[in-house]
Structures are given as C-alpha cells and as structure tokens.
C-alpha cells in the first residue's frame, strides 16, 4: 500500500517537479530587486538544543554559532579564505616589545545593544576581565592563556597586553563582547547561571532576541537599524531555530515546508532531499575528521609497522562510499585540507591488503594454527574496536572488521553509550584497544595534547604515542608567528604522523544541509552554518502566510 502511494506521489511529481526545477533555476539568474528581498520567516531545524546565549557559560557549537553570527558581533571574523577581517572592530594595530605585545582594537561607533545603549570598549574589557576571573570555569579558558590584561583607552579603543603567539587574534573570532550595563553587577559566582543566557539575552548583532522555549525553539527578529558597515539589516524578518532530535521527523518537516533549513541531513537521507522538487542539498566541508585511535600501550599496536599495516588493510574509499554515501574525503593528516599548513604533497596510504599481510608477517604476527587470526608469542591479533552509538560509526566498525579479517586480524566491534565511551578512553588506566571517533579542532590547532609525549598524560593522549621529534616540531610551531617559517615544520610533522600512524585517519567529513528552494543565497563552509545569515532571503511569493488552513 505504501509502495503504491509512493508511486502515485512519484508520478504526480514527475510533471510538477520538472516544472518547479526549471523555474527555480531560472530564478537564480533572474534578479529579484533588492527591496523585494526583505521579509518572511526563515526556520532552521537543529538536532540539538543551543544551551545558552550567555557566552560565559555555553559550550556547544550551536550556541557558539548563534552567538557569533546572530545575536552578537565578534571583533574580527574569518573571510572565505580564512583570513581575519575587521567586524565589530574597525581596525587594530599591534606593537611589540620583546616578550610583551600590545594589541589595540578600534571599535565601530554605530553598533548598539538592542536596548539602545552603545557597544563600547568597556564592554570588551568587561568581557575579557570576566573570562579571566572565571579562569578554568570558562570552558574555552585556554584560548586566552597568553593574554594578560586589558586597558580601555577611550570609549571605542581598547588595548590588550599579551605574550606573542601565533594566531593571537583567533580568540576574538569566536568571542563576542557581552553587555556590561546588563551583566556588570552580576556576582562572578552567579554569572554562568544568570537568566540572561536563556530568558532575557540582549545582544548587538543582526538579530534581536524574541523568545526561547527550551527544548523547542529560539526566536530572533531582524535588527532594523543594524549598521551597513556590518552587513546592514538582514533580509528575513524573523529567524526561528527549532530543535527536533529525530532525523525522520526533521525530514518530514522539511518536506512539508515547516522548515526552511535542515542542518545535518543524515547521509542516508541525502538522496531523498535531492529528489524533492522543492528542496535542495548544500554540501560543505567541515572541520571534523573521523579516525581510529590505536592504543599503543597494547602489544598489538606498539609497532608503527603494524599500525601502518592496519591502515593499508582498510579500504577507506569504499568506507566513505558505504557509510557516508560519498560525503567525505579519505583523510591522512591531522591538519584537514582547509588548514593553511595542510600537506597536500602527501597521499593517503592506499588500500593494499597484500602489503598489509607482508608487514604483519615481517613484524612477527603469523597465523601458525590456521584459525585465520595471526599470533605472536601467544598474543592473538584480536582486538575490540569501540565507538559511541551513532549509526554511521556503527557501520564503520562493521566495515573495518570485515576488511581486517581478510588480513588475519580479528576485530570485535562494540558500541558504547557516548559518556561511557568518554569515560573509558580518557580514564587513567586507558582500558581499551582501539576506538572510532570524530574530532573537530578550532582553526588554531594544538596537537600537543593529542600526539605529544606527556607525563602525566592528558585526557586526549589516548593513542599513547610519543616521538621526541614530533614534540620538538609542535613546540616550535606553537611559538613561530611567521607562517613561512612554520610551514616546513608543519609539513615534517604531518610526514612523521603519516609514517607512524598513531591514528588511522578515516575521512574528512562533508556535511549535507537540506534547504527549501524558496530560501536563497544560503552559504556554508568550514567556518560554520550561519556565516551569511544576513544575506538569506525568501522568494516574495512563497513566504509563510498566517494560514487559516493549518488549523483543523
């Protein structure tokens, strides 16, 4: 029955769809006059809640994006070439004096908080002072560890004193000033719980806060007098952020038109969105890479040659096709392709089971009892591969297990609940063999906490990898501000990681977004999903009506 219905839908659609498809393509070329682009409500569906608009407390990516691009303004921004450009700060200059550096920001004068007060240097200094005072209670405390103090020069000029370090401007690309006239009197101990975060946030960005219904939606409204210099008034009147945890429900809402954007379409749903006459799929490269971590404390994984053999024994091209439906690139370096120091001269290790077998033989792992699994000194080449419950990663386990079985290594896949996995792999006894996980570093990467030698070990030293040369390289790039000097060191670092394979890098993740055709000009890239939310506009004829037809 359902099949029949589907068929009817398909036939009904074939004619209508071609039509709609053509029209939308034409429209892309036919310009809609600027003044007709204003208006309408854009509804964006997220799988997870944005916890808070209070920057001092929030820690999730969704909150970060809403803060940086919707409700507040950051001092600087990355442009599409990942170069820092002015935003709330009109300009900046630096002076250096040996170990001390000053960084002075000149703010734009015209930016107002949504209650009318001007945004000033005092707000910037206030935000910085609170972050410093919160210390380690501020989730991203490490970003400002090289910053010492702030001094307000005049209402629109603020100077920071810091130790020189590469990427010293980076924290200001994701840290927005908070309003001092509202939060200034809140005691430090109550700052993170202040109702400002969820009930009454006041921003200075392109959208003002209207309403938050926890677990349901955030509603924002265009700031009509948002300065032209920062992009001017957004085209859409309202921006609604809806939280829908179940992907099937999300898909239904996109198809029926309740949503304009479905963030994070599951790989298996992409085809369905693509075949819809009223929606399209936008793919973009994310910062996330997926990897297998080998626990080098275990005899099986201690030898780099064995880890290399394991990588050679996994058909990663096929894996990306099968579990990601092609949405991703085979990975090989801890610096993903968007990174300025990504070493594109390296090639991912090929799928080569014969070489893998030879390497394992040479390392002494031989199947002497003929049971299909290699042994050495009484140890079997058998291990447990764990991950968290996530359909894509569960598929990864199965494919890795079947690939490695053909080279004589037994993989026992096991799925754990996320927090249990977290506790297992970060626990001090490191009681695991290998795991699959995704990792999305910030633009200023600090890989010492993953691949550095460490005593005592940090949380993320799960590979148990230690190479003095890598330490030296990572230490030097952390202090070299001149990218031309740092580049060869970064390249060497990537070559060593390629040789030693502490991880088997699986893929750089490409993300798919479902967008209704009526919503135009949406762009997303490695910087995030809301980077040009000001420019989104809705076709005048297909905006939401106050529909009497929606009531029963």
């Amino acid at each position: 029955m359902r099949r029949a219905l589907k068929l009817v839908a398909l036939v009904a659609c074939v004619t209508a769809c071609i039509d709609a498809g053509d029209r939308s393509r034409e429209n892309d070329d036919a310009p809609v006059p600027e003044e007709l682009r204003f208006g309408g409500t854009a509804v964006v569906g997220f799988l997870a809640e944005a916890s808070s608009m209070n920057e001092f407390a929030s820690n999730d990516i969704n909150s970060d994006e809403l803060q940086s691009y919707v409700l507040f303004t950051t001092l600087v921004r990355y442009d599409e070439d990942l170069q820092l450009v002015p935003y709330l700060a009109e300009s900046w200059e630096t002076t250096s004096d040996g170990e001390q550096r000053t960084l002075t920001f000149h703010l734009r004068h015209a930016v107002k908080w949504h209650d009318g007060a001007p945004t000033t240097a005092y707000d910037v200094a206030f935000t910085f002072d609170r972050i410093k005072a919160l210390g380690r209670l501020f989730p991203r405390a490490a970003s400002f560890s090289n910053y010492d103090s702030a001094v307000v020069q005049d209402s629109f000029t603020v100077t920071f004193f810091l130790k020189p370090h590469p990427g010293f401007l980076d924290p200001w690309s994701f840290t927005s000033p908070m309003p001092q006239h509202i939060l200034g009197d809140v005691p430090l101990a109550e700052l993170q719980q202040d109702p400002f975060g969820s009930v009454s946030p006041v921003g200075n960005g392109p959208f003002r806060f209207v309403e938050h219904r926890p677990g349901d939606r955030w509603v924002f409204e265009a700031t009509t007098d948002f300065p032209e210099a920062l992009g001017g008034r957004p085209y859409v009147d309202r921006l609604v952020y809806r939280i829908i945890p179940e992907p099937t429900t999300m898909l239904a809402e996109l198809m029926s038109g309740e949503l304009d954007v479905y963030l994070g379409v599951a790989p298996s749903q992409v085809e369905q969105v693509e075949s819809s006459p009223t929606a399209r799929v936008l793919r973009y490269e994310t910062r996330i890479y997926a990897f297998i971590n080998w626990n080098a404390r275990r005899p099986l994984f201690a030898d780099p040659a064995v880890r290399r053999a394991l990588t050679l024994g996994i058909d990663r091209e096929r894996l990306v096709e099968a579990v990601r439906y092609g949405m991703g690139e085979v990975a090989y370096s801890p610096l993903p392709p968007y990174h300025w120091a990504h070493n594109s001269q390296l090639q991912p290790l090929p799928y080569d089971p014969d070489s893998a077998r030879a390497l394992l033989d040479a390392a002494g792992w031989v199947d002497s009892d003929g049971d299909g699994v290699r042994e050495r000194d009484g140890d079997r080449a058998s291990f447990e591969l764990i991950t968290n419950s996530n359909p894509v990663r569960e598929d990864v386990l199965e494919i890795v297990a079947s690939d490695l079985a053909t080279v004589g290594v037994e993989v026992i896949p096991r799925v754990l609940e996320a927090q249990t996995l977290g506790a297992t792999i970060t626990g001090s006894d490191r009681d695991f063999d290998a795991f699959v996980l995704g990792w999305g570093p910030q633009f200023e990467q600090n890989d010492r906490r993953i691949f550095g030698c460490a005593t005592p070990e940090g949380l993320f030293h799960w590979a148990g990898y230690c190479n003095p040369r890598v330490d030296e390289l990572l230490d030097r790039v952390a202090s070299l501000e001149d990218r031309a000097q740092a580049l060869p060191l970064w390249f060497e670092y990537q070559e060593i990681i390629q040789r030693d394979q502490p991880y088997t890098f699986l893929y750089y993740e490409t993300r798919a977004i479902g967008i209704k055709n009526r919503l135009r000009a949406v762009e997303m890239d490695v910087r995030g999903t809301l980077i040009n939310v000001n420019d989104w506009w809705i076709e005048p004829g297909s905006r939401r009506q106050i529909a009497a037809s929606r009531s029963p």
Partner: protein, 331 residues
C-alpha cells in the same frame, strides 16, 4: 476519606525516598559523570574539566554527595541543572505542563475510545464488527509506540503533503507544540493550532492502550450484561440503550478504573519516546537528555516528578473506586 488520603500520602514519603535513593546510586554507578559532556570536546582543555569536577563536588566521596543532595532535596531545593546552567525549578515549570497536556489528552483518548469500542463490541458480540475491531485492537496493541509514531509522521506529516487531493484535514505537523506563526494567530486560531499539533503524538501515545482498554471493557461488559438484574431491567421495559449505558456500564467500569492507575506510569514512560519522535518539549525529552549528559540533579528532579505522578495516579484510581462502587468505603 480524608484521613485515608492523608495516610496514603504519608506512606508515599518513604516510598519516594526509596525510589530516589535507588536512582541516585544507579546514576552514580553508571560510567562517566557530568563533566563528561566537556570531555570529548576538542576546544575544552583538561584543566577546565578538572576544575569543573571539583566545582560541582564530583570528587567528593559518594556518601558526602548523597547527603548533600538529600539535605537540599528535602528542603525543596532541586538545585541547578549542570548541563543547562538553569534552576531546575524553572526547567520543570517549562516542561511539566507540556507533558501533562500530552499524557492527559492521551489518557482521555484511551478511555473514551477504549470504552466506546468495548461497549459496542460487547453489545454486538461475534458480529463482523466485533471481529474486525478485535483484530484491529490486537494489531495496534502489538505496535511499539516509537515505531507507530514514526509511521504516523511518515504518512500524515510527510506523504500527506506530497499527494495532491489528500484531505487538508488529515495533514498534520510532524513536531512541536505550536506552529511558527502561532503568536500571530487569534484565540481560536491558537487553540486550533495547539489541537492540531496534539493529535498525532496523543494518538501515538494512547492508541495502544485504548486497544487494551477496549478488550477489558468488552469482557467486563459481557460478564455484566448476562446478569439477572440486567435481564430484570430489560423485562420491566427499560429502553435498551439505557440498560447498557446506565445499568450495565457503571458496574462494568470497576475493573477498568484499576487500569487508570496502571496506565499512568505506562503513559509517562511511553511519553519519553513519543516526545523524542515528535520533538515535544516535555519531561520525557528532559529526562533522556539528563541521563545521557549525566546531569545528576536534573535526573533526580525528573525522577521525583515521575514518581509523584505515579503515586498520584494510583491514589486517584483508588478514590474513583469509591465513587463508582458505593460498597467501597475508605476509613
């Protein structure tokens, strides 16, 4: 009656304490702790995680943590949600009404539909209608709530929008409690919008239990209508529908009321899944997230609310007994 109620409520106190203590220790026995939500985040450093653990008192011995929780809880302070950084009382105030609305509607649906179908089946025993309804009831009863919810979404909120000529009345929203334009609607528009959003989740939540209520009502009615006093009523010329609705139904209701007490916990646990599927911002959604994030204070508070609802549900069933059956008196 009043003293009976008071006694029952007093008994509930140690019961609730026992439940919560059990939940407390089970939650703490699970691997990980609330700081784990920062654990796999590449942008959070180790020092932050350690500081947060000590700030939240997670490095104290379990007994100390238990005692401080108990003292706060007993004084009515639910504390702060660690994941949301909001007072738990505010979270509950947001969520409880939504869950009550959903479960309440489902409960009404269960008993209205269930009893009506059961009566019809009993009166027309062994007819084609009876057989069809029996078959349908068993079919629906065997469907898992979660799956049924997804199927309803696929048919009534997905396919329905793609097929031209599908009756507008049978197109439903897939998620949420209100639509985007809710604030701009008039009073009746708002009411209609809310009902529109309520129908699919309430149906998914209630229809399985309605099927079983129908089965119970049917057999209970069949027993009653064979009794002598019904025959007497018919013999003295009382109209047929009056015999059924007034004389028979009231007596047949006794076992059904027991079900009320049984279904309430069932509804609440079912609502956890239904709320997830329909993105319904209620208690179920809250408790799942709280457990996954190891948000201990929020887990304790939501468990408490669920436990209280179950106790009240059972009490309600007992009181209704007395209302329906004059022979039952509580002293």
């Amino acid at each position: 009656m009043t003293s009976y109620l008071l006694r029952r409520l007093l008994y509930a106190v140690p019961l609730l304490w026992g439940i919560l203590t059990l939940v407390f220790f089970i939650m703490h026995a699970a691997p990980g702790d609330p700081s784990a939500m920062y654990l796999l985040n590449p942008n959070v450093s180790q020092e932050v995680v350690e500081q947060i653990r000590s700030n939240w008192g997670l490095d104290e011995p379990l007994a100390v943590q238990y005692w401080s929780w108990l003292v706060n809880f007993a004084s009515g302070d639910f504390g702060l949600s660690l994941a949301q950084q909001r007072p738990i009382s505010a979270i509950l105030a947001d969520r409880i009404p939504n869950t009550l609305l959903l479960s309440g509607t489902a409960l009404v649906l269960i008993f209205l539909i269930g009893i009506a179908l059961g009566v019809i089946q009993a009166v027309r025993q062994y007819s084609t209608l009876d057989n069809v309804l029996t078959f349908g009831a068993l079919l629906i009863y065997s469907m898992p709530t979660f799956w049924l919810g997804l199927m309803l979404i696929l048919i009534f909120a997905h396919l329905s929008y793609q097929i031209d000529g599908w009756p507008e009345l049978l197109r439903f929203p897939a998620s949420g409690t209100t639509s985007i334009q809710y604030d701009m609607l008039g009073f009746f528009g708002k009411l209609g919008d809310r009902i529109h959003h309520l129908i699919l989740p309430a149906f998914a939540l209630g229809v399985g239990s309605a099927a079983s209520v129908a089965r119970y009502t049917r057999s209970s009615m069949l027993e009653v209508i064979r009794q002598d006093y019904i025959r007497t009523a018919r013999a003295k010329g009382v109209p047929g529908h009056r015999v059924i609705m007034k004389h028979a139904l009231r007596n047949a209701m006794l076992p059904i009321i027991t079900l009320l007490g049984l279904y309430l916990p069932f509804l609440l646990s079912g609502s956890v899944l239904v709320e997830y599927v329909f993105a319904w911002p209620g208690m179920g959604d809250t408790i799942i997230k709280a457990i996954l994030q190891r948000d201990y204070p929020l887990v304790m508070a939501t468990s408490f609310v669920f436990a209280v609802m179950v106790v009240i549900g059972n009490l309600l069933a007992d009181v209704l007994y007395a209302v329906v059956d004059p022979r039952i008196r509580y002293e």
